[in-house]
């Protein structure tokens, strides 16, 4: 079987799996990285949201063969390391606002939030209601209002 090499949470990994297997299953079923969750498998619910070279992507829609050896995949497990602390400011904001209920969607929510804040900052502006309305991550527990508060607070500290 073909080998695929890329970076996950700061480490180089090589997996031996068919190239069309989506990254989500490589992470979860082969590498045992279970922070990214399955909620739909068709890039709709966004529960698996992770970062590829700092941008938000959905691993359920990326064949592992599309990754290059230098590509850096960051899952929720590796997020704090991107700021060199125990917790990323967005994770801290999530704790401060007691956002999670069941918690299943929250890794994806946090990863999407961090990418949103970075994108908005790169555009030289601050987060608007329209930006928050544009987040597509499902939270079936309905924590949306606390998510909005936490993103605004987390953005302050990023």
């Amino acid at each position: 079987m073909p080998e695929h090499t890329f970076r996950v949470n700061g480490e180089q990994v090589t997996v031996d799996v068919a190239g069309d297997v989506r990254l989500l299953w490589v992470l979860r079923d082969i590498l045992g990285i279970t922070g990214p969750k399955y909620g739909c498998g068709i890039n709709v619910c966004k529960a698996c949201t992770s970062h590829l070279n700092g941008k938000a992507v959905n691993p359920c829609a990326i064949p592992v063969q599309d990754l290059q050896p230098t590509d850096e995949v960051t899952t929720i497990e590796g997020l704090a390391a991107t700021v060199g602390r125990d917790l990323h400011p967005m994770q801290q904001a999530w704790l401060d606002h007691d956002v999670a209920q069941c918690g299943y969607c929250q890794p994806g929510q946090i990863m999407a939030a961090v990418a949103l804040v970075r994108r908005v900052a790169a555009e030289g502006r601050s987060i608007t209601d329209a930006d928050l309305d544009g987040l597509r991550n499902i939270c079936r527990c309905g924590t949306y209002p606390r998510i909005r508060e936490a993103i605004r607070a987390g953005a302050e500290d990023m």
């Binding site: 068709i42 590829l52 941008k55 992507v57 917790l87 704790l95 999670a100 069941c102 991550n137 309905g142």
Partner: protein, 770 residues
């Protein structure tokens, strides 16, 4: 049994004095009985009376009776460990409602230990608890509030006694603070150091006094969730995250119509040879595949060529079910000679899909089985799985995992049953998960229903209120958490009786409406239904509150003042007045926008919602890709009185979620039934509330405690929220809505094919990096 001891009539201490146990163990284990022993005693009698053949096949009566007969078998216990932590295995399911946090708070309160030193886990299925391991009906805190505190109080008393011996003083001179026992001279000893000294070599019954409410320092104060750090770091483990040796991914190729059956499979050998695939086998519900990754399961499911036999809803559609409901509607009786207000409302099928789909791990070996799944009725699951596998129940171990949401879905154990069947057939462990499309199309639904209301009035007096609710049958087959009840509910007569009983028990008469009569009639058991969050109440309450608005208009009264005048008690009026005041009821609003107000009481709690909605075209038609926009709820003020709020922050979170559910039920979320199947197969088909539907302003007001006892909360807020949104919509548009959700008539997506049953995995993920 756990019960107040009689210290004389009216004695406050007497009401707080209970019996508990110290159990024989190497470390301190204190216990209390979870509930009166009545449940255990009635089980064998109920079985004898039914005498159905399948009962004797399913129930190992001797096991049950032996277990129930053990004097301490139905205890819950608090263990003090030598590292100073306190452990408790909660016989309930945590699915996001925050009961591990509130339970830890109860123990922290009575034991005076820091909250972060209390470790609450979920208990495996414990058949000896009989009726007492069901998570539903917003009952957890109501049922466990006293027993958990009694067990903790017994531990506290033992620790004080052990510390007194250690320090050579009288226990009366000692206090516990932050997990440390102190005397007046400043000497101290940690509870960890006392854990083995306070242990007992024999089981003893002891009497304890609970802390009075006035002394509470933990209960009633807002606390963040105990599992929050795990949730935000990705460390929280759900069933599919567990590493069970050799439990490889598995999925099921399902029929194109509801509950269709496998006829034959044309290409078994070909699919077995696909990359990563280890097994393909037909099970009761479809063709199951096991592979190295779930991605390869998806590919294998899509490749299977199966000929299907008909299901249980063949050819049915929304329109045909509506005709069935009409045929099953009970007569409203003669119209009274007085003026009346009448209405008929239709509620389409809805999905209680949690984000974590149905899933379970099963490892079935010769003579035994082990199951991992988020289960709200683990005892029934254990018994049913044992029956399916032909094993004694005692040989099936059922571990309850943390659940990724439930909303009623996890009362059923559909995936666990499939996983067990598959694992037995292939002789290997499996990690079985439903695809989202499976969950929408073959999963449990909230049944379609109609509700008819007639109110007779004269002048300013309401003479009578009549409501006839007609519904596709709700499967209450999870019973009350115990196999005998579950089987009784499946008998034709028993089930009707049970559903009707459930309906009556859940519907309160909150208004002074004269002669009140409410009846439920059910039809058609061909659908996979279940209790969705708040069960009958959102629909029943929505219909009632819309009629209340009509009635108020007929009497020339303001909707808020009408409700306030007709509500029966002060507690109810207080929550209503609170939202009216905080939400500035009656403020002037632009055309096309309006306020709505509604009330609901259940689970010994009362609630009210004030909603503002914007139905103007610019808002309704705002563009969102693959989403339903529609009217936007711009503001919600929600007030709740649960008697005693154990964790106000958790309660606020539950009400927030209930509000989001209520908005979805009123405006956007439903399943469309066509030709024997549901069209929805994705979160972009089934329109649960999204960020773009979320009210920019939300205020949840937790009323000051009005009782020493907590009421239920997990489902409480859905009914008033849905009703208030509907009322606001009616006032904004000038037309009372009669069909829910209001956008059901517009199909806002292109349905995915039913063969193959699940969509392909996309490949363009890199194009959407942002």
């Amino acid at each position: 049994m756990t019960g107040p001891q009689d210290d004389g009539p009216g004695s406050a201490i007497g009401r707080r004095r209970f019996l508990g146990y110290v159990l024989a163990a190497p470390t301190l284990v204190a216990a209390a009985e979870l509930a009166p022993a009545r449940a255990g005693a009635s089980a064998p009698a109920g079985a004898g009376a039914l005498a159905a053949p399948e009962l004797t096949e399913l129930v190992d009566l001797n096991d049950l009776m032996t277990a129930a007969a053990l004097p301490t078998s139905n205890l819950i216990s608090v263990e003090v460990r030598q590292d100073g932590t306190v452990a408790f295995a909660l016989p309930r399911a945590e699915v996001g409602q925050g009961i591990t946090t509130s339970t830890a708070m109860l123990i922290a309160e009575e034991l005076s230990v820091p909250l972060d030193r209390v470790r609450v886990t979920l208990a495996d299925a414990r058949p000896e608890l009989v009726f007492n391991q069901l998570t539903g009906g917003s009952n957890t805190t109501i049922a466990t509030y006293t027993p958990i505190r009694v067990a903790a109080a017994v531990a506290r008393q033992r620790l004080l006694t052990a510390a007194a011996a250690e320090l050579g003083t009288d226990a009366g001179n000692l206090t516990i603070e932050d997990g440390v026992v102190k005397d007046r001279a400043g000497r101290s000893v940690g509870i960890g150091a006392l854990a083995s000294k306070a242990a007992s070599t024999r089981t003893e019954r002891v009497s304890v006094e609970l802390a009075p409410r006035e002394s509470f320092t933990v209960i009633g104060r807002p606390h963040n969730r105990v599992d929050a750090l795990d949730a935000v770091t990705g460390r929280k483990k759900f069933a599919m995250d567990l590493d069970v040796p050799d439990a490889k991914p598995a999925m099921v190729c399902r029929p194109p119509t509801i509950n269709g059956k496998v006829g034959s499979v044309a290409n078994l050998a070909q699919v077995r040879a696909m990359p990563g695939v280890t097994d393909v086998v037909t099970i009761s519900t479809g063709v199951a595949v096991r592979a190295e990754t779930f991605g390869q399961c998806v590919d294998a499911v899509r490749a299977l060529q199966v000929s299907w036999r008909p299901g249980t809803a063949e050819g049915k559609s929304d329109a045909s079910v509506l005709r069935q409901l009409e045929a099953a509607e009970l007569p409203m009786g003669l119209r009274p000679p007085t003026p009346v207000v009448e209405g008929k409302f239709t509620f389409y099928f809805r999905s209680n899909s949690a984000l974590e789909p149905n899933c379970a791990i099963a490892d079935v070996r010769a003579g035994r089985a082990e199951i991992w799944s988020a289960l709200k009725s683990p005892i029934v699951a254990q018994q049913a799985i044992a029956a399916k596998l032909g094993l004694p129940a005692g040989k099936v171990t059922v571990h309850v995992t943390e659940g990724g949401g439930s909303f009623g879905r996890k009362l059923f154990f559909d995936a666990a049953l499939e996983a067990a069947e598959m694992s037995q057939k292939i002789g290997k462990p499996v990690k079985l998960m439903w695809h989202r499309a499976d969950d929408s199309r073959q999963g449990r639904t909230h049944p379609m229903a109609t509700s008819r209301v007639r109110v007779a009035y004269l002048g300013d007096t309401v003479l009578s209120y009549k409501q006839r609710h007609t519904s596709v049958s709700t499967d209450l087959g999870h019973g009350l958490g115990e196999i005998i009840t579950a089987l009784a509910a499946r008998l034709p007569v028993g089930d009707i009786g049970f559903a009707q009983t459930f309906f009556h028990l859940s519907q309160a008469t909150s208004y002074r409406f004269g002669a009140v009569s409410r009846l439920l009639s059910e039809t058609d058991k061909g659908f996979n239904t279940g209790s969705m969050r708040n069960v009958y109440s959102p629909d029943v309450t929505c219909a009632r509150e819309l009629i209340v608005d009509q009635l108020a208009a007929r009497m020339g009264k303001d909707p808020y003042r009408f409700r306030r005048d007709f509500l029966q008690d002060d507690r109810s009026r207080a929550v209503l007045a609170k939202v009216a005041e905080a939400g500035n009821w009656g403020r002037s609003m632009a055309p096309g926008t309006a306020q709505g107000i509604a009330f609901h009481a259940e689970y010994k709690s009362v609630s009210a919602a004030l909603v503002e909605i914007d139905c103007r075209p610019a808002t309704v038609d705002r563009p969102i890709r693959d989403g339903v926009t529609g009217p936007r709820v711009t503001k919600v003020v929600f007030a709740v009185d649960v008697g005693l709020a154990v964790n106000p922050r958790g309660l606020e979170a539950q009400m927030m979620g209930c509000v989001m559910d209520g908005i979805a039920l009123a405006l956007t979320s439903s399943l469309h039934l066509r030709d024997g199947h549901f069209l929805e197969a994705s979160w972009d088909n089934y329109f649960y509330t999204r960020q773009w539907n979320t009210p920019p302003e939300l205020q949840v007001i937790v009323m000051p405690s009005t009782s020493d006892q907590p009421g239920g909360a997990g489902e409480l807020g859905v009914a008033a929220s849905m009703a208030a949104v509907a009322c606001a919509y009616g006032r904004a548009t000038g037309t009372m809505p009669t069909s829910f959700p209001i956008n059901h008539g517009t199909l806002s997506f292109t349905p995915k094919p039913t063969v193959p049953p699940i969509p392909p995995s996309p490949t363009d993920g890199l194009d959407h990096a942002r």
